[in-house]
Symmetry: C2
């Protein structure tokens, strides 16, 4: 009964990859999991741009490193990077988002990205979500229209055995759960 | 190998519930799955307020119905509603969010909510994420501090057999996947 809790334990932010390429069928299973993700009003406000060819792969990887050379410098090792492009939701959702001051598609993008990463774990692949990168640079490299955003990149690849199964550090249930009121 | 893809198929937005209460151990497994969700810089910017007592449950349910009486009127059937309160992320993440104009915690909240719903499916429970509700009313009912937001509510309960296994309607992979460039 607890296979999903086990899968959650297997997924981690993998920042080391071997040179083994990602098989096309495994990649497609990851995309299939993301495709089936729920979204507000079933808007599916996303396009997944798979980057797996050089020199593009290298150029996108370089757009994720920060002013500190060590930041995100693992990305160049990843044989696949997927850019999650946020698309406009349905009109009703867009209107609802304005009224409720909530950017629903950002919630949806998070859900789809996690489906992708959990399926990667199921396939024995490592993955890492990246939120910090030069978005304009990546948009230019992928020819993404100016008005669209790329909230996340996800790296995929095989993680060396010794870097797997890192212990998860999380707050306890007591710290994050209340019953029948915020203050209780 | 495809148990996660199967689990994804089982999860759906359930808008009918039986009177069967949700067992505490199942509820806690759902919360555990959410607790283990990844988040930007591992900020874990969330508090889960479980509502399972009347009259509060009824009052929160009433805050989700819209001007049209039929909208969200299933929520009163749910024996459990969980409010996802968005907490401040770590300072570095907050600063990064400002610089990159991205509300990372909203992405994180989506991920945690989906962990919750997928574990519900694993437990044989139905669930539904709600983004449209009277947030101020729910904040008042739960005594959530004014400066905090509640991006999502999630209902939990048992779905009548005949409402399970609805076919998923999604765009095809061809419509949402491109390789090595947005235009390709």
């Amino acid at each position: 009964m607890n296979s999903f809790l086990n899968l959650i334990q297997q997924r981690q932010s993998d920042r080391k990859y071997t040179e083994r390429p990602v098989e096309q069928d495994k990649l497609e299973n990851c995309l299939e999991a993301a495709r089936l993700a729920p979204s507000a009003s079933n808007s599916q406000p996303w396009t997944f741009v798979v980057i797996n060819e050089n020199p593009l792969l290298n150029e996108v990887a370089r757009a994720t490193t920060g002013p500190l050379k060590s930041f995100n410098n693992f990305v160049v090792q990843a044989p696949v990077i997927i850019a999650l492009v946020m698309e406009k939701p349905k009109l009703l959702t867009e209107w609802g988002g304005h009224v409720k001051k909530k950017e629903y598609p950002l919630i949806d993008i998070g859900i789809a990205a996690e489906h992708l990463c959990l399926q990667a774990a199921e396939e024995g692949l490592g993955s890492c979500m990246l939120g910090w990168f030069d978005e304009q640079k990546v948009k230019d490299l992928l020819a993404v229209p100016e008005e669209k955003n790329i909230p996340l990149l996800v790296t995929l690849g095989y993680t060396p055995e010794k870097y797997k199964h890192r212990k998860k550090i999380r707050k306890s249930l007591n710290q994050i759960v209340r019953y029948n009121g915020y203050g209780k």
